[in-house]
Every structure is written in C-alpha cells, then in structure tokens.
Amino acid sequence: MLLLSSVNVFIMLLNWLTEKSLLLIGVFIVSVSITHTFVNIIPATFLGAPDEDESLSVLPAHKMLLNGQGYEAVVFSALGSFGALLIGVLLILPIKIILSEPLNFYKTINENMFWVLLAVILLMLGTEKPKHGEKLKNYIQTLFAATLTIILSGVFGLIILDLPVNSPLSLPSSILFPALAGLFGMSTQIHSLRLSTPIQKQNIEDPHLKPGERKKSFVSILTGTLAGSFVSIIPGVTPATGTIIALTSRGETETKQVIITLSAVNTVNAILTLALLFTLHKTRSGVTVILSNLLPVEEWTGFNPPLLLIHLLIPIIVAGSLAYPLTCFLGKKVAKHITLIPYNILVKTTIVALTTLTFIFTGLTGLAVLLVATTIGLLPLTFGVRRSHCMGVLILPLMLHFLPT
C-alpha cells in the first residue's frame, strides 16, 4: 500500500515537474524572443552597410553608422523597444476587446483581407520617392521598379511555396528560410561587399535627447506601437511596412525617429503576436508556433486574461527591462571595437554562414532558392527602392488566397 502510494506520489511529482518544465521552456522562449527585438539592432547597424555615395538604398541605422553614430542608433532603438514594451503590454486588453469578443472586428478584417493587403501595397508604392530628383520621369521609374520588385518576389513566392526541400542531415526544413535569408540577408551582405566602405571611428558618448526630441520620440513610440499592432494582425505585413505607415501618418523622416519607430513596431509586434495566440488562436510567428505545441493554450474568452498568458507576460516585461541596458552596453562595446574588426572578412563570414546553414537545413534545392532570392533582393538595392517590397513573396500569395469570388 505504502509502495503504491509512493509510486502515485512519484507520478504526480513527475507530471507536475513536466508541466512546470514546459512552462519554463515557454518562459525562456518568450524572454529570448523579446530580447531579440532589442539586441537585433546591433548586427543590423554594424553589419552590411554599403557606401552611402554609391548605394541608392541605405538603411537608417547604416546611415548613422557611416556618420560615426552607430552607438547612438543602438541607444535610440533600445529606447523605442522599451517604450513599446510598456505601452504594448497595456494594449493587450483593448486589442482583445476590438478583435475578439465583444466587438469581433477581426472577422470584418478577415472578410476584407484582400482589400487590406491591396491597400498596404498601394501605400508602399505611393510613399516611394525617387532618389534622383523629384521629376515625373523619375517618379514613374521608381514606381515601375517598386512594382516590378513586388511582382517578381510574389511570383517567386507562388513558385517556391510547394517546392520540396529536404535537409541532408534530416533536420526540420522550411522553404521560407532560404527565401527570406536571400531576399533580405544575403542580398544586403553582397551589396555591402560590392560597395564596401571603411567604417569610421564611432562616437561612444551616451546620447541625450534634447527637449524637442523627447516629445518627438514619445510620438514615434506611440505611432510605432499602434502600427506594430496592425503588423501583428495582418499576415505578410512586416515591421518595415508598419514603420512606413507610422511615419507617413505624421510626415516624419528624421533618421533617429525612423529607428525609434521601427524598433517600437518590432517589439510590440512580438508582444501582440503572443496575445493573438490566446485571443484568436492564430500563430503569426515561429515563437507562437512553438508555444502552441508546447503549452496548453486556452482561448481568452472573458475580460480576465488566461493565467498562462500572464505567466508569459511577466518574463516578457522582466526580459525587456534587462534587455534595454544590455543592448546599450553591447552596442557600446561593438561600436568601440568595430574599426578593429576586418569588416570585409566579417561580411564574408556571414555570407558563408548563411550559405552553409541553408544547405544544412534545406539541401541543394534550398541553395537554388537562396540564389534566386538573393538576385531578387538585390533589385531594390540597385533600383533605390525599399527592400520591404520583397515581402511580395508572402503578400501576393496571400492576396490570391483572399481574392473575393
């Protein structure tokens, strides 16, 4: 009897431990994902910057790096992410009320998704500005280049979605990995290698916001947070598109404010995709796919959030609060030593790493996809239009799916 009870207690303890350890893994995953939205500005700033005079398409953080303000870019990005973290957590309940019960606005969005995606594309095209003076001919050329990029990446997306890829090491494969790595990663590295420029000494003094900039930055965080909510709801729309929406809505073009807005969009997107998992049972990111497989995600029905969501939000707030100073610290270290690192070797190593990982996870077919994706990714860089047009790879197949009949 005693033995039986001991076995019973042991099984109960084992079940409890398994349940708790799964929750701990979930907590670890969400903490890493939120920290990633803070620290990813460091490689984004210090890697892949092309020569500003030669290149037509320079990202805002790269522009600051080339002016010796790489560390400043990192600090403002971390500020944007932290602000969005605080506002984003407060937005979860209102977003739930709007999208799910009682207002059920998501149903209306879903029914009109084709038009929403079309509006996003038209907005992306409409906000393109020619790089060689604002003549009508230049406008038409820019518009043509942007449309061509969207269509070509869309056709590419339609072709590859059913292309069978296999890992030679029998690892889980996804066709989206070589596609997105080529469109956004590899193309940027090759472009910067082609038009490489020596990185000048970076200013590592702590930046301070001037009184006028404080208000502007707050508005950037706020609009970025709202645009990030949109990004998390609409499939195929990237944080870059969210940033365009946020900046266009207030006519802001200053580099610092662009970085703050983009980071706010990124962080709030990570928080709200988690909330959407509970609100609409939608998995809009790799993190939420893993969580839905790992934990018993229950639907958020009433006003009180499910306990599991609270358990995951607490580490998000803690991790985000720690990631803010950590990002600034790491950014300062990298900025201090970036001139000592042989830049070309760093970029070439990244290219080799991307190619190797593509082969390991997706084999030879994946390498072919990576190659084609890279050539498409080079189009916006050479034409001088936004890289976010390459998201046609997802948007166009989605539009065809939602095409009204």
Binding site: L163, S170, K282, T375, H401
Partner: protein
C-alpha cells in the same frame, strides 16, 4: 550594361529556372505514419477522409486516415482554401508537414494540391423515397434536398421537409449560422436510427444552400 540590368536579368532567369524545377521536382510520397519524420518538408500523402470541418475564420480542416493497404495512421489537412471533399472520399494531397497544438498536420497552400482519387458516391434520393423503406438506407451516405423548418442552433438540428415528408437533421454547428428557416438546402449525411425516440434521423456532414 547598366548597373540595374544584371540583377534584373539574373532574377527573372532564376525565377524561370525555379518554375521549371518546381515542375520536375515532386515531393516524396509518404504514408500517414511516416509524417513525423518529415517536419517542415513538402510531402505527398494519400488517405480516406474521416471528417471535414470549416473553422470560424473560414479555413478547412480535413481529417484523414490511412488507406487499407498502408500502415495505420491518421492526420489532418489544413487548407486556407475550401476544397470540395466529402467523408469517405479517397484523396491525395501535397503540402508541408507541421505540428500544431501537438498534432501533425499537412498545410496545403493551394486547393489544386488536393486531388480526389475516388469519390464516395452519396446516393441522391428524396425524403419520401427514404421514408417508404428507411431500413434499406440505414447507415448509408445520402444526399437529401429540402426546405429548412424548425431550426434549433442550440441543438445543432433542423427539420428537412420536402413534398410533405420530413426528417430531423443533426448538422455540424459551423453550417447552421448561415442558415435560416425556409431556405432550400442539400444535406449530405448518413441515415441513422434513434431507438430512444423510435425515429430515423440524418447525421449531416455538410449542408449546402441550393436555389
């Protein structure tokens, strides 16, 4: 050659080659029990449809079990497009393997990637014909057409009437929200007998509005 031309030619050629490659490369055919070893990969499967369900957001979930001569296994197909399949149809599907909420599923990106190998013929008949010899149609898949009366969403049921004859239909809830009393519908389902009420009823699998 202008600077812009090279990537444009390369990308257009690359997309064309990938298109040809997509026509040549066919995914491996796997049995349903082998699916877990192909996570993330595109595969081709075949099976017998066990259930067809439309989610509230309009996606279709198709339950599938192994074909008789294959090892036992089952899975679900997730499709954003609506595919015209019925329970007991034998289908072939091409899609990527993923795990969702702990269960393996095949995500089909295009409705053309699902082919019906053998359609289970539902016997089209009238309610009055079934009413005269119900035992002859017992447990058989039927397709009945009629007018909706006595719609009870809370009980997932309605009465299907035609030419003065009627039968109770129990339907999957997702179909009921779009229906109203007086509408003409076609119901695919199986005729069953309720020994508590001494009456026959149709266990509906699909309800389609007809003109």
């Amino acid at each position: 050659m202008r600077r812009e031309t090279a990537p444009l030619i390369l990308s257009t050629t690359g997309v064309t080659i990938l298109y040809i490659l997509s026509l040549i490369l066919q995914p491996p055919h796997v049995t349903l029990d082998e699916i877990p070893s192909f996570e993330g990969e595109t595969v081709e499967i075949a099976g017998v449809v066990t259930s067809v369900y439309i989610t509230s957001s309009g996606n279709q979930i198709i339950g599938l079990r192994n074909i008789q001569n294959e090892p036992p296994g089952n899975t679900t197909i997730f499709s954003m497009d609506k595919i015209d399949v019925n329970v007991d149809d034998i289908i072939k599907a091409k899609g990527s393997v993923q795990k969702y909420e702990g269960k393996w599923e095949i995500v089909v990106h295009n409705k053309n990637n699902v082919q019906i190998i053998e359609r289970m013929n539902k016997q089209k008949t009238s309610i009055w014909v079934v009413a005269t010899e119900p035992e002859k149609y017992m447990s058989l898949p039927l397709s009945l057409t009629g007018e909706i009366k006595n719609l009870k969403i809370s009980r997932n049921s309605f009465t299907l009437t035609n030419s003065g004859y009627s039968i109770t239909v129990f339907s999957p809830p997702q179909y009921l929200f779009n229906l109203t009393t007086g509408e003409r519908v076609k119901v695919d389902g199986i005729l069953l007998y309720d020994d508590k009420t001494f009456s026959y009823y149709l266990l509906g699998e699909r309800v389609i509005k007809v003109d």
